[in-house]
């Protein structure tokens, strides 16, 4: 049938809403069946568009935006927690590590296996001393004695300044030969009490901030210099 050839073109025309080509328009005007088909297809697409329009343009609930803002506020406040919890965890971990370090320093024998007194002198230099590979037993013994002596001196200064060293117990520091005195001086400087006062102005916006009392410090000259970036601010 001739009209079947036009059917697809009619659907396309109804879907696109475009103007019919001349040949098709002349046929539609002369053929009642094709005219009805075109009208039916046009009404179908009108239905489809109306259905889509009514389905998609629904009213938004009046409190929708308010709810989203509230949820956003909750999320923002929750978002701060992980940072603070991580910070708190980090602080606790650092404190635990410090405590462990102090514990091991004061009780070094608990952190390692018990060894006979001469064992360390025979084995440890074989690891640290370069001459150990040569197998020179006299040189090895002399080095071991020096190393042990150096360790004891360092322990005496750094760990417990007023307590004499107890053999090879305590913190062990392997010192290169000839640098023992340097290390001793360095540790004396570290162990010496330093006169240092710390002033923290964490609540700088607080109006009723009381002046700091530093009774034990005598300040002969005080030079206050503003930090460069602060002066620019």
């Amino acid at each position: 049938m001739l009209c079947d050839n036009y059917k697809e073109a009619l659907i396309e025309a109804a879907a696109s809403g475009a103007v019919l080509p001349n040949a098709l328009r002349e046929h539609v005007e002369s053929c009642a069946h094709c005219g009805a088909t075109l009208a039916a297809q046009q009404s179908l697409f009108t239905l489809v568009d109306a259905g889509l329009h009514s389905r998609t343009n629904v009213g938004v609930p009046p409190n929708f935006e308010h709810r989203v803002r509230a949820a956003l506020q909750i999320q923002v406040s929750r978002g701060r927690r992980p940072y603070s919890s991580v910070f708190a965890f980090g602080t606790m971990a650092a404190a635990a590590a410090l405590a462990l370090a102090f514990f091991l320093r004061d009780n070094p024998s608990k952190g390692r296996k018990e060894m006979p007194p001469g064992h360390a002198a025979q084995t440890e230099p074989s690891v640290s001393h370069p001459g150990a590979a040569s197998g020179d037993s006299k040189e090895l013994e002399a080095f071991s004695h020096q190393a042990l002596h150096s360790r004891s001196r360092v322990l005496n200064i750094a760990g417990r300044p007023n307590v004499p060293a107890r053999g090879n117990s305590g913190v062990e520091v392997l010192v290169p030969q000839g640098q023992e005195e340097l290390l001793v001086k360095y540790m004396e400087g570290v162990a010496a009490p330093r006169a240092r006062a710390t002033f923290s102005a964490s609540l700088q916006h607080e109006a009723d901030m009381k002046p700091m009392e530093v009774p034990s410090i005598e300040i002969s000259e005080l030079v206050v210099k503003p930090l460069p970036d602060l002066s620019s601010k």
Partner: protein, 197 residues
Amino acid sequence: MQELVLIQPIRAAGEQWSQEAAQAARRREFEERLAECGPLAFRVARGVLRNDADAEDVAQEALLRAYRRFDRLRDAQRFRGWLVRIVFRLALDRARSVKRREVREIEWAQPTRRPAPATAEELAASSEFQAQCDRALDELPEKLRLVLLLAAMEGHSLQEVAGMLNLPVGTVKSRLFAGRKKLAEKLQCYVTTTKRR
């Protein structure tokens, strides 16, 4: 001379303040976009889910997700399209997870219906047609469905839809045409209904 060290945490506080200020600015900017694009997010979700409560949930989730990733958005002009894609994806996930299709089919199988609508507009608004249209729309490929929804929504032009989806206008046009045609094929039975009237 004794050494007095003044430790002023101004620098740290300043960094914290600048971070908070940046966060507040980001939030302000996002809230402006929320006022502008919130309804669009809801409507896209509603277009897929056809349920106000679910659509509200999904739109809210999408907006919060968009806020979390707001920093990653390089071009702020693309926020609408970005949000639309997030909402559409979440809504599809929700639609798949909930078995609503069976419920709708049960409703569709019930013989008692309202009186037959007289005009095409009434027919389009009728629950019977809406249910059939929903089913037909659900069966469309996702890329056609999203274009159909956006083109019918809020009077978007082809250019606006193309901009939102980051597609050429020609692609949007062809998808729109194909989608409407597929829908019409699935709703062909309504042609005879209206023709008889």
